[in-house]
């Protein structure tokens, strides 16, 4: 069975990090598994982790009293989930619930935050990668907002 730093090295998100950095990240990481309908985290929770999904599917949800839970976005194999651990007040903004059996690697945000303050090189590398993910999500969300399929196309 592969060790976590090897698994992380295989993942495109961590490509380009050196062996030392990967080893450190591996040290902050653990394998996790969620059954269908299980929450990865709820809205308003302390944001302590980010996840790299290895298989399965999760739904990012917002809850409205009248409409119930609304799925805003689904993420699956290969996607990176969670960045609220990067910025104060370190609380999650949406709930995330597994739709299918989901396996992921969970990385300890608190531990990483501390390390990034000390090791700016690692901090920069992670910031670059997270910015790219955020930009992609933002672009996709903008397209969703356009309501493309309505009558005026």
């Amino acid at each position: 069975m592969k060790t976590l730093d090897v698994i992380l090295a295989d993942h495109p998100f961590f490509k380009g990090l050196n062996a030392q950095q990967l080893q450190f990240l591996g040290g902050c990481a653990s394998n996790v598994r969620f059954e269908p309908e299980e929450f990865l985290y709820r809205e308003g929770d302390e944001a302590n982790n980010f996840f790299v999904i290895r298989e399965g599917k999760v739904a990012v949800e917002a809850f409205s009293p009248k409409r119930g839970p609304i799925i805003i976005q689904t993420l699956s194999k290969g996607d990176v989930l969670g960045w609220s651990w990067l910025f104060p007040p370190y609380h999650t903004h949406f709930g995330v619930r597994a739709i299918e059996l989901t396996r992921a690697i969970s990385l300890d945000g608190k531990c990483l935050r501390k390390k990034c303050e000390e090791d700016h090189d690692l901090g920069y590398e992670l910031m670059k990668r997270f910015s790219a993910v955020m930009i992609q999500r933002l672009q996709a969300t903008r397209l969703q907002l356009l309501d493309l399929y309505d009558q005026s196309g």
């Binding site: 599917k57 739904a59 990012v60 949800e61 409409r67 119930g68 839970p69 609304i70 799925i71 805003i72 976005q73 689904t74 699956s76 194999k77 290969g78 739709i99 299918e100 672009q139 996709a140 397209l143 969703q144 356009l146 309501d147 493309l148 399929y149 309505d150 009558q151 196309g153």
Partner: protein, 279 residues
Amino acid sequence: MKPQDTQPNLPRLYRVQQSRPETYDTWTLESEPVDGTDGLSFAPGQFNMVYGFGVGEVPISISGDPANPERLIHTVRSVGAVTKALCSLRRGEELYVRGPYGTHWPVEAAVGHDVIVVTGGVGLPPLRPAIYHILSNREQYGRIVLLYGARTPQDMLYTSELKRWRARFDIDVETTVDAAKHGWHGNVGVVTTLIPQANFDAQHTKAFICGPEIMTRFTIAGLLKRGVTTENIFVSLERNMKCGIGLCGHCQLGSVFVCKDGPVFRYDQVQPFMSKREI
């Protein structure tokens, strides 16, 4: 020579055999010719000018199986006076049709390649004939991927067919919606997010895209990022059409007439015009 060739202005009379609601604003009409002649032979991607008696004409893609043209199938979304009239047609009523017109999806050139079909909303009906053709000749093609986006699960078209296709082992079907209630087990997000993980070989793929133009542009960007080249991307475009035969000037997009040089275009043909506003 058929009468329609010398008198292209004259529609042919069909009778509606079945009218089926797909969603709250979209109907599928199945018709047969009244004069007992053979069905309308067409290539996947072509369209007819469909006439609502006394109301007007609109271009509607043919959505049936090109191998079985006896039943003429049109999926119509009610967005204006003519389409509203067409959507209200019921079994036994008349339908008038001129066509088929336009260029078609290059299913012949795609033989031996993977095919990725990316569509959303009412972009699926013009592609369905190509999917039928490919699935009927499955051994001629490589991997087949269908990515289909809609507003909500209730806005999806051809849901039973999508289920049947998904149940096959030789086509990847991924659907996604813009928003869904809890209980939806499909994807949520724009259809472009499905491209990075889709299972196809970018070096040996033909891409067929049909949907809102913004979706089309971003889909193309996603495909180019994966390494598909512009000569292997095909898009179906729409513009205002009055005659459908290249004589009235309305459907021009730059130097091309969407009715006769299209509606299916190889992307590099229309690339200079698509990137500019109000062309």
